[in-house]
Symmetry: D3
Subunit: 133 residues, 6 copies
């Protein structure tokens, strides 16, 4: 299996609901350094997994509506805990849509899966990996 | 698949038995930066894989008996080479016990697997990944 | 010149006032990975710059009132932009007070200066360095 | 599953053919920091996946013919785009040959797979993972 | 002293003249991860060293003419060895010009110095630091 | 001021004397990732601070007598606490001797100073910087 991974980041505010979160129930924030990995069983005729330039662009496009936001105020996240884990899946699903729409410089049907990793500090990170189809 | 990973470290002394180890047959030591990743097929009602605070605590608890020790003198390791690989599994198995005992803020039966990575320098690391059940 | 540096982190929310901040004028947040470096011209009789255990504790103590907070709501920061640069100095000054109070396992008069670095993402960081006296 | 990973690097020049590459169609270059991970289902009698010293040597041996080269001029790559993805597989296949030839301090039949990762900058990397057999 | 540092990167080809360079006398290449640090004695009224957005833009602007180039073919570098050290100074001097031209969101006269670091691999880097005036 | 920095590492065992060291009074060990930075006011005719190949060799030569050793048993360290800080200076002084002996591919008189950094974990490091003369 081949993979290509690109990196970007967002800075957001949010709060959590549930005793398990302790002090993180208060409004606080995070920098998430985001790695998006695209997997394919084989390379295309150019010798690439995807167009890495487009991967950077699509990742930026997916992150922009989140960047510099208070996630507690975004309607699409109403009633949800926007945990690191939740956000890995949210970003994954937007990237998978872009892949299926052939927006990564290669037919989405030639790609296998996507893994999105969010690094929240030097001692904690989370990721979500799932097929594109 | 979802994953959450937490980081800690230990500083230990040990020696190895076997010509393959060359100069590492002498008593020497290592800092191991330890990453413990917990995998689950789905998030719980709070939107998390595990309680990350408990994950940090349980990892610390597993590492404490090793930290600042000469591993050659620990009875449980008698007759063993406490290689980086060996230690990844040792730590994995202790963490898996904690998971099965429901000590990570979620029933162990809802977790899938654990991967323990030990970084021994800027040019070498090892990891062990296996199901919890 | 000798130096010892320890690392910790905080996760905070805040907003900025001023057009220069663009989208960061909205409430957002950040993870700051914090490095605190302590400088001394010479080592003490134990062969150390400071007691590294106490340095970790004092850094934690200085960071705790900030961690998981909305800095916009803290009275001591009223009317201030809590920029990365501002926070490097705030943390520096609290650490320098602890040093002068001989709380680092060595008389503050034997220490020279402190540098506090805040990493806000994989592409940006800031630091402040000044004498302790 | 156990794994051991070693790191080295190469500095090369090359150019690409195909509009997808944009400015990278011109002769340019890259530092590739190379991670080679070796996987095995179990440890040998010494408690290791492979002889890590030999792993470093074999990786160096595989990288040397590429290091400080203009890859456009190497006959074996004629007509190919030596993309990061292509090189992950090239290096993988040379390492797998070494593994099958029992050159890693353990019978190749006891090893499972190899993953080769090339870090091309702080925001992009690629890898290839496949069985040894 | 305060500082703010931003990161970007370039991928270039070049060759060196002189026996000291050994195999690097051949055409090869490098990824340089570039850190540009801006120093100031005090913060401005907004609480910043410089406008970090402009710092990223100016750094990008300085790097663009180098990126994806064979430096051996650039007229301005004719007869020069474009070593890592040489490039740190080249980039520094372009950034200092931008600072003196008040292009960093703050009068250049309020800034003190600039340090440019180029990371060429995981085991080697160089930097150049000098006043702006 | 120009600088070039190279990286290597050692793995050692040792123990400390003194209550300040707590559990580190027991025999334990560490991986030290070692950065050696060489400073010069100007570049030589080749456009370099030093011959980076020789810098790597000299650093390796200085580290070899320490690597895979129990530092408690080395006669030259008898009665000393081989703290991270102590070792930064020990390595510095050996590198400065090599610089003064013109062993870095440039007359030592053309070099200014050396800084040696030891990273002992992901949360702690120390360094020592002093002139060569």
């Amino acid at each position: 299996m081949h993979a290509v991974e690109v990196r970007d980041h967002i800075m957001i505010a949010h709060s959590f609901s549930g005793e398990v979160f302790g002090p993180a129930q208060k409004l606080h924030g995070a920098t998430f350094v985001v790695d998006a990995a695209f997997f394919a069983q084989s390379l295309d005729a150019n010798g690439i997994v995807i167009d890495i330039g487009r991967a950077h662009e699509v990742l930026k496009e997916v992150l922009t509506p989140l960047n510099f936001q208070n996630l507690d105020e975004l309607p699409e996240f109403a009633g949800k805990n926007t945990t690191t884990e939740f956000l890995t899946r949210h970003i994954h699903d937007r990237l998978a849509e872009a892949a299926r729409a052939d927006r990564l410089g290669r037919p989405g049907s030639e790609l296998h899966s996507i893994r999105v990793s969010l690094h929240e500090s030097h001692v904690a990170r989370a990721w979500y990996e799932a097929p594109i189809a």
